[in-house]
Structure formats: structure tokens, C-alpha cells
Amino acid sequence: MLTILFDGVAYGMLLFVLASGLSVTLGLMNFINLAHGAFAMVGGYVTALLMERLGAPFLVTLPAAFLVPAILGIVLERTLYRRLYGASPLDQVLFTIGLVLMAMPIADYWLGAEARQVHLPDWLSGSLSLYGVGISRYRLFIVGVCGAIAAALQIFLVRTRFGAQLRAAVDDARVANGLGIDVDRIFAITFAVGSGLAGLGGALAADVVGGVDPSFPLKFLVAMLIVVTIGGSNGILGALFGALLLGVLDVAGKYYIPSIGAFIIYGVMVATLIVRPQGLFSRGDGR
């Protein structure tokens, strides 16, 4: 039982890192980025290819899996995304679906349709036993890394000047601009960090889902959207809660009541939207 709970938490943590960028752009900036998963794919490919072609150690590839999508994110944000911040939800949906449709064939063209594997080092393989509970080493690693990221993000957003500026910019970009905050820059950096985290999440997730392939951008899209929906406009903590809830429910549901399967999580999402259209965690007034 505890093993399942732990697997659920690990899966939830993974979802959190994948979705944290989206929770800021969608949950706070109200920008619908359905192409968020494409950045996760890039991160996954970076790790897989660095290990495969250059024989780089897994841990060394992770910073690259963050940096490459982050740079790609900042370039796309500066050139394309920023034009659509004020656009209608429909335009944002269409635009980012278009990006996904482009990203998948590009990956297919360069790297082929077959999945690229990420081979874990020995020290991360297998499982160990803690107080009689079997725990996979890699899942423990994921919980550690993702938990640290979550804590760092929360501190960053709540305690630092940048965090305060971001919250101000999200709240009212014009007023923030008037206060001398460089809203453009804030959004660009936020977008880059979010994309980088998605990439890192993609690299970490590659082993769990059996490698990276061109369909990766859609694989986690629904799960990420559910995380953000449950978390609502409450940023990091909301997303963390949503991700953990989703992870545990999904893993436990598939184990205990396989006949219902993914039904539970979709049900939770729709129920959330009925009870609190702006997300479980959002403040009562809504925006």
C-alpha cells in the first residue's frame, strides 16, 4: 500500500515539474499554451541524445535538459508568444496547437518515430527497502529532485523581489509597468524558466514512460492541464497540490480499481470545475 502511495507521490512530483511552467503561464498569466509539452519533449531528447551519442552521464545531462528548452522558450517567447498575450483564448489555442503540430513532425524528421531511451545509471536502478516498504531508487530520486525544485520555486516566488514583481505584473501589467517593473522581461524570464522545467521534467519522465518519441508533446498535455485546472490560479502550491492529488489518484486508481482507469482523474477535474471554476485553490473572488 505504501509502495503505491509512494509511486503516486513520485508520479505527482514528476507531473508537477512538467506542469509548473504551465501553471504560471496558464494559471497566472491566463495564457493557454498547449505547446508546453513540446518543451518537455525537447528536454527528453536532449538527455537521451547526450547519453546516446556522447556517452554523457545521466546527471550531467539534466542541466542541459533544462537549459536547451529554456533558451528555446525565450527565443519563441520574444519572437512569437508575446504577440498573443492579449489575444482571445481561441487564438491562443489555435496558435499553440499549430506549434504542437509543427513540433511533432520536426522531431520525427530529425530523429525518427521510434522512442529514444534514457538508460539510468546503476545507482538509480532497482529498489531498496525502507522499513519493509519496497521503494524504487529512481522514484526516490525523482521525489527528492522535484521536491527541491518545488520548494525552491515557492521560496523564489514568495520571498524574492523577482517573485513580487511577477505577481504584480500578472495582477495588472499596466500598473506594474507604471511602477517601473519591466513586465516584458519578467514574462520572458518566467516563460523561459517554465519551459526549462518542462524540459527537465521530460528528461526525468523519459524512463518512466518508456522513452521519448515525437508524440511526447501530447502524452502529458491532458495530465498537465488537469494539474493546472485543479491548482487554479494559485501558482506553485496549487499546482503542487493538483499534481500530487492527480499522481496518487491515478496510480492508486489504476491499481485498485483498474476497471475505472483514467475515469477518476477526469472526473476529479470536471468536479473541480463544477465546484470551483477557477480551481480548488483559488481565492473565492475569482478573476
Binding site: 493557454i32 512569437l80 481561441l90 496558435f95 503540430l101 509543427m102 476497471s259 482507469g261 470536471v270
Partner: protein, 338 residues
């Protein structure tokens, strides 16, 4: 008709009546479509696909174009309509008209039940709700293998339409004609609906919901009503798809079905009802041409088209096209001059 006494009253009457007449270009459009089916029997399967996709995109136009509601889950209704018709046929009730009606009604009922979910929250919540409902239904169909055949799908055969015209692999042209007639009838209904005070009320809700409410329009109920109609249209499209291909599979509920429908509508232009059909034709022909050249990569070009469409601005692009078309089609131009 002649009740109008003053010049102003006559102008008002003419203005209100201008939406009612079928224009020459519309008649040409439908005749050309019919002619295409008759002239290219070897392409009947492709044309049938276009007609059904056009009906599906039309169903989206009813909510997006008329009422301004963005949905990412229209595939739910496509799937329900298809499975309703298929299950009926697999129980030896293979009459196509019956299956069509049942498919549309089943989807409409589902639309009616889920529509209240749309009334809470803004666009974003609506996107998620519609998506969530379609995913739930897909999963439900997947898990209800005793009824739906699960991942294997269903096998069934159809009786001839009206007991006269066999459809399916041996009668693909009949199938295309059958779909075409259904599309035309439903289109004519939608056209009438758009011109009715009900349609005008939807336009008012889309344009300014606050004021629509201040005029005494019960906006919530209007949205529920049009969403139900739209769901029934999508269900009819699903039923046609099941009947004419005699296959149903779980991918009918997929996100990409909803997305494709939306793309077709956007390519053709939302709000004037022909957009979905034109967009479906362009989308499917484009896919056919590109995938003949580069089978795996056709999505790339569709994606590029979308990105370009949004960046250039859908409104602006449509204005350019429509200002050209204005000479022959003033009504559409009036709508597009946003």
C-alpha cells in the same frame, strides 16, 4: 408584407429580410457540391469524409460562430453519435435513418446534460470542461467493452437507406449522397436558426453578454439550447461516419478529432456557416495532397498554416478575402468587416 406604410418601415423590413433569401452563390455552392459527388464516383469515399467533417465543423460553428463558445471537446458528441448508431446496428437495427436520429438524439441529450457546466467560469474553464467531458466519455467507451467492443471496436452492417440505396463499401457514392442530403437538411435548419430571433439573441450574447442580460435575455438558457443543438449536429456527423464507414473505434473521442474540427472551421472562417464545410474540404484535400508527397509530415504544414493564420490575424485575413468576395456575397462581407 405590404403593411409597411413609410419609407423607413420599408427599409427596416428589407433590412430584416435580407438574411432570409438564398443567394445565387449559395445555390451554386450546393449544386457544385452535388455535382462533385456525381462526377467523381471513384473519389466518393473522400468526398463522404469531407461532407461528414463539414457537418462536424458546422456543429462547432453553431457554438463558436454563433454563440462565441470555444470547445475542445466536441469529439465527445461525435463519438456518442457514432457509437449510438453502431450499437444500434450491431443489434440488428441497421436502418440508417433510425441510427441517425438516435445518434443525434443521444448526443443532444448528452449536450443538454453537460451544458450547465459551461455556464460556470470563463473561457478557460469552458475549454477544460469540454475537454474533460470528452476524455471521460472516451474512457467510458474504452471500459464498457461489453457494449462498445472496447479497443476492438464493433462489427455491424447497415440496411439500405430508406430500404432502397445500399451504403458502405459496395455503395460509396450512395453513402456520399446520403451524407450530403443530411448535411444539406441540417445546414438549412442551421441557416434558419441563425436568422431567427433566437440566432440574433445568440449574436447578442456573443457580442455583449452584459447587455444581452440587461435586455431581459436569459443568456444561460440560450447557451444551453444552442449547445444542445450543436451536440446533436455533432452526433449526427458521428452517426453518419459510423454508418458509411461501418467502423467505430475509440479514436472518435480523441482530442485530435476536436482539434481538427476546430481547425477546419477556422480555416474556412467561423460565423457564416459555410466556413466549416469549406474548411473541411480544404483541410482534407490538403492532407491528401501533402500526405501523398510526405506521408508523415503533413501535420507540419497544417501547423504552419495555423500559426500563420493567427499571427496574420484571422479577422484581417478574412477581411481581405471577404472584401474580394463582397462583390458577389455582400452578406458575408458585412459579417466579416470586424
Amino acid at each position: 408584407m405590404s403593411g409597411a406604410s413609410s419609407a423607413v418601415a420599408r427599409r427596416i423590413e428589407a433590412h430584416l429580410a435580407r438574411r432570409r433569401r438564398w443567394r445565387a452563390i449559395e445555390i451554386v455552392f450546393w449544386l457544385a457540391a452535388l455535382g462533385t459527388i456525381l462526377a467523381f464516383p471513384s473519389r466518393a469515399a473522400l468526398i463522404n469524409e469531407i461532407v461528414i467533417a463539414g457537418l462536424f465543423a458546422l456543429s462547432l460553428d453553431l457554438i463558436l460562430g454563433l454563440a462565441g463558445i470555444v470547445s475542445l471537446g466536441q469529439a465527445a458528441f461525435l463519438g456518442v453519435g457514432a457509437y449510438a448508431a453502431a450499437i444500434l446496428a450491431s443489434k440488428d437495427l441497421g436502418d440508417p435513418t433510425l441510427g441517425l436520429a438516435v445518434g443525434a438524439l443521444a448526443a443532444g441529450a448528452l449536450g443538454f446534460v453537460t451544458a450547465p457546466l459551461l455556464l460556470r467560469g470563463a473561457d478557460l474553464a469552458r475549454l477544460m470542461v469540454t475537454l474533460g467531458v470528452s476524455l471521460m466519455l472516451g474512457e467510458l467507451a474504452n471500459r464498457s467493452a461489453w457494449l462498445t467492443g472496447g479497443a476492438d471496436g464493433l462489427n455491424f452492417s447497415m440496411s439500405p437507406v430508406l430500404g432502397l440505396f445500399p451504403i458502405g463499401f459496395t455503395g460509396q457514392r450512395n453513402a456520399a449522397l446520403y451524407s450530403f442530403v443530411v448535411l444539406f437538411v441540417l445546414f438549412a435548419l442551421a441557416r434558419r436558426l441563425r436568422q431567427s430571433p433566437f440566432g440574433l439573441a445568440l449574436a447578442a450574447i456573443r457580442e455583449n453578454r452584459l447587455r444581452a442580460g440587461a435586455l431581459g435575455i436569459a443568456t444561460g438558457w440560450r447557451i444551453v439550447a444552442i449547445y444542445t443543438v450543436s451536440a446533436a449536429y455533432a452526433g449526427a456527423a458521428g452517426a453518419l461516419l459510423a454508418q458509411t464507414t461501418q467502423i467505430v473505434s475509440l479514436d472518435l473521442f480523441d482530442f485530435h478529432r476536436s482539434a481538427d474540427g476546430l481547425l477546419m472551421l477556422i480555416i474556412g472562417g467561423a460565423g457564416y456557416l459555410y466556413g466549416g464545410i469549406i474548411g473541411a474540404a480544404m483541410f482534407i484535400v490538403l492532407r491528401d495532397v501533402i500526405s501523398a508527397a510526405t506521408p508523415e509530415y503533413w501535420e507540419f504544414w497544417i501547423g504552419l498554416l495555423l500559426v500563420a493564420l493567427v499571427l496574420v490575424g484571422r479577422e484581417r485575413l478574412r477581411d481581405i478575402v471577404l472584401s474580394r468576395a463582397a462583390l458577389v456575397w455582400p452578406k458575408a462581407a458585412g459579417r466579416g468587416a470586424a
